[in-house]
Subunit: 321 residues, 2 copies
């Protein structure tokens, strides 16, 4: 097991990423504040390059490679934002990226990877096929595997979102972030614990994919077992590194229903006029559904991404075929 | 005819509106820049209170009334953003707003007016019924009629968006804005002409509702005659005040197809991750469709509003009933 990253790694990542990642804006919404009864600040990682915070971690990992390592390219398995983020980061460094994706991945995700110049390696849609394909790619090319979250450089990179956030909005009482594999939440927790120890870090996840909540309660990593949730970025299980950090620094994990996620996503689209994907709506759902006590507090929310298939919105019935 | 407003009126409006309107952010998008071959700055009035720039003009008009006038309330006819904006402005002043709306206005527009505490006065969906209803309201209540655009205070208020824009982004070569009744475009033109005379102001409108383009060519106001365009904010004809200003200060009006409007709207949703309504997409359509020569220039675009019925998106076929 690699060493668990620390706040020093987050600060190093911030220096490395300067000029490479967007310093995303923080938006507020008075109707959201009124509805929740708190002052809410939204860090808009949906405006990040490649449309999600994932670019921070992927870019930190790619830019940390030695020239010799980088020349052999990078590889990962991802049917989501990490694949596109890694492809873009690799392009910025001028090296190749091979992304193992299941044959049934959404067309929009394939187009994003290809659009950033990544090479898609198709596999059957099973965990075994995915891992076998990745191993084969790494064996054949010598590419560096950049895990979507259980990677110290990735976690440190994700922590830079909270670093910007805490610097811009002082004295946050709470920061909410979604938890899937835990890369963002653990990076956020490292940053908050060191930078502003008074800030509580709370994870949010779909009740239908509550493995992080159960894992922290059990004191060991429990598998997500391919859960069915609209929050497609949050279907993964924790990794050893992220679990270790969450155990130490995360106060609480709150779960929300699928209905609450869809309602929160729509609320943000309607009121804030910004596009967020379902995974990003999870912390907003926790607030709108009063899943934690924040009355009168200053609450930070990381809106993680905005990559949505605009042909299929969860509140519009698909045309009958 | 009231006096045509000047840049002094815009500056007065800016002072009056301080703290009442949002100073909206300016966003950029590197893929848009690459596609168009220019540096494009988007002034996000879709993030304005009540979801559109209209709040600036409505608020300036309402806050300019004497206490005696204000006490009798305000009234207008609008099936769009001006009605909601006027209702909100009236609520902030603590006076009543009566909004004449056709019975067939979209449910979302009615809900917005009612949500801000406005009283809806229904009329048949004809121009005559609309005007007769408004006259009756004004006669019975003594309310001040705040025309959606042919009103000096409204025009001056709309000009404050460009004032913020030019202060934040210096040396714009061009500013693009949509033109319907011409309130925003004329306010923008007043501001640019006085504040940064080197900046060219260009109007954009749907080819299906090209009355402003034709009016400037003809040297007189030609009526729009209830055109069919998805850009529902741009179906109106110019007024005497707005026409006088456009004649003097607007270099050019560019028209775009309905297909280009829908494609531009979707492009902004997908790439910029923000919600804009079809009318806001018109200047982006002009850029994406190469309707004017901006190569290498610094181009400002006013994104006018983000009020969209999320149940009905122009690129999704409605479910068959």
């Amino acid at each position: 097991m690699t060493a668990v990253p620390t706040f020093d790694d987050v600060q190093e990542a911030a220096a490395r990423l300067k000029g490479l990642v967007h310093h995303t804006p923080v938006l507020t919404c008075s109707s959201l504040d009124d509805r929740v009864g708190a002052r809410i600040f939204c860090k808009c990682e949906n405006f990040q390059k490649a449309g999600a915070f994932k670019f921070r971690g992927a870019c930190n990992a790619v830019m940390s490679l030695s020239d010799v390592e980088a020349r052999r390219g990078v590889a990962t398995h991802s049917s989501g934002n990490h694949g596109a983020a890694l492809a873009l980061a690799a392009r910025l460094r001028g090296v190749s990226a091979r992304i193992v994706m299941p044959t049934n991945a959404p067309a929009s995700k394939k187009a994003a990877v290809a659009g950033y110049g990544g090479t898609i390696v198709y596999c059957e849609p099973t965990q075994e096929a995915r891992e076998a394909s990745l191993e084969a790619v790494v064996r054949e090319t010598g590419a560096a595997f950049v895990h979507p979250y259980n990677n110290a450089k990735v976690i440190a990179g994700q922590g830079t979102a909270a670093l910007e956030f805490c610097a811009e909005v002082p004295q946050l009482d709470v920061i909410l972030a979604p938890v899937g594999g835990g890369g963002l939440l653990s990076g956020t927790a490292l940053t908050a614990a060191a930078h502003t120890p008074g800030t509580q870090v709370v994870g949010t996840e779909p009740a239908a994919a509550d493995d992080a909540c159960r894992s922290l309660a059990a004191g060991k990593i429990l598998q997500a077992n391919d859960p069915t949730t609209i929050a497609d970025g949050l279907r993964t299980s924790l990794g050893e590194l992220t679990f270790a950090i969450l155990q130490r620094h995360v106060a609480q994990i709150v779960t929300v229903s699928e209905e609450a996620i869809i309602a929160a996503m729509r609320y943000v689209w309607e009121r804030m006029k910004i596009i967020i994907e379902p995974s990003s709506a999870v912390p907003i759902a926790a607030l709108l559904d009063n899943r934690l006590e924040v009355s009168g507090k200053r609450v930070g929310v990381i809106l993680t991404g905005g990559n949505v298939d605009l042909e299929r919105l969860p509140w519009i019935a698909p045309p009958s075929s």
